[in-house]
Symmetry: C2
Subunit: 150 residues, 2 copies
C-alpha cells in the first residue's frame, strides 16, 4: 500500500485527482499506476483501471484470478466492477468513499453474487494518509478557483 | 445503431463476445468499437469502454457531455458508470441484460443522482437483432465445448 500511496503523491504533483493503485501476484508487483484522466483525456483512466490493464498486459490474459489490487481510495462502481470482471482474488483499499464508493461506501458492487466468485476485500489500510492526499488536492483546487474567481 | 450492430458482427467473427458500440456528437460519428477482451488481454475492453476512450482521444477531453453512446447490449455497471463519469448526454442501447445490466436490467447505476447529471437513456433499439448475435455466439461456444469434451 506504500507503493500505491507513492503513486497517489505522483498524481498530486501532476495535477490529477491523487489516487494510486498497485496489482500484485503473490509477492510480485505487476503494475503501479495512478489516475491519468486529465493527462490522457480518458474518462476511464482511474488508477485502478490503468493498473488492471497494465497487469493484464504483463500476464497476457484478462483473467487476474491470482492477483490482488491495492488502491488508496475505495473503488467506484466502474473500478469495482472491473475487479469483478477480471475475477481478481482480492482487494485492499485505503480511504472509504461515501460519495461514489462501489464497495459499500456508497453502493456495493464488490460483493454482488451475480458477478461471479466474490473476492476477498479489506478496506481502511493507511486510510488516513490516503485521505489526506485527497484533501490536500481538493484544498489546492479550491484555492486556485478562489484566486481565479477573485 | 446499425453501425454498432455491424461492429458486434465483426466481434463475432473474431471470437469475441459480440457487443458493438458507437459514440456520436451531433450527427458525427466519433468512434466505432467492439469488445476486445480476448484479443487485447484486457478485462476492461468492453465495446463501450473502447468506444468512449477513442471518442475522448478524438476530442482530446474526458468530458463527453455533448456525446451519445449507442451500444447493442445494456451496459454493465462498469460501462454504465463510465458513461456517467464521462458526463455523457445520452445512451441508446439494444438488448436488455438481466444478468449484469447496469441500467435497470440488473442494477441501475445509470440513473443514480450521486453520479452527477443524469443522461437520457433509451433501451430496446434493434434489441432482437442485438440479442440474436449474442445468442449465436453462445450457441457456437457451447458446440465447441461439447466437441472438446466429447
Amino acid at each position: 500500500m506504500r507503493l500505491a500511496l507513492q503513486a497517489a503523491q505522483q498524481a498530486l504533483q501532476e495535477g490529477e485527482v491523487p489516487v494510486g493503485a498497485v496489482v500484485t501476484q503473490g509477492r510480485q508487483v505487476l503494475s503501479v499506476a495512478y489516475n491519468l484522466r486529465e493527462q490522457q483525456s480518458d474518462p476511464t483512466a482511474h488508477a485502478e483501471m490503468v493498473a488492471l490493464r497494465k497487469a493484464a498486459q504483463e500476464l497476457q490474459r484478462w483473467r487476474l484470478q491470482d492477483c490482488w489490487l491495492w488502491v488508496t481510495l475505495e473503488p467506484c462502481p466502474m473500478c469495482a466492477t472491473a475487479v469483478r470482471l477480471a475475477q481478481m482474488e482480492g482487494l485492499f483499499y485505503g480511504a472509504q468513499d461515501p460519495r461514489i464508493g462501489g464497495c459499500g461506501g456508497w453502493i456495493d458492487v464488490i460483493h454482488e453474487t451475480a458477478l461471479g466468485p466474490i473476492p476477498q476485500v479489506r478496506g481502511g489500510l493507511l486510510a488516513e494518509e490516503a485521505a489526506s492526499v485527497l484533501q490536500l488536492f481538493f484544498a489546492q483546487l479550491r484555492t486556485q478557483q478562489a484566486r481565479r474567481d477573485g
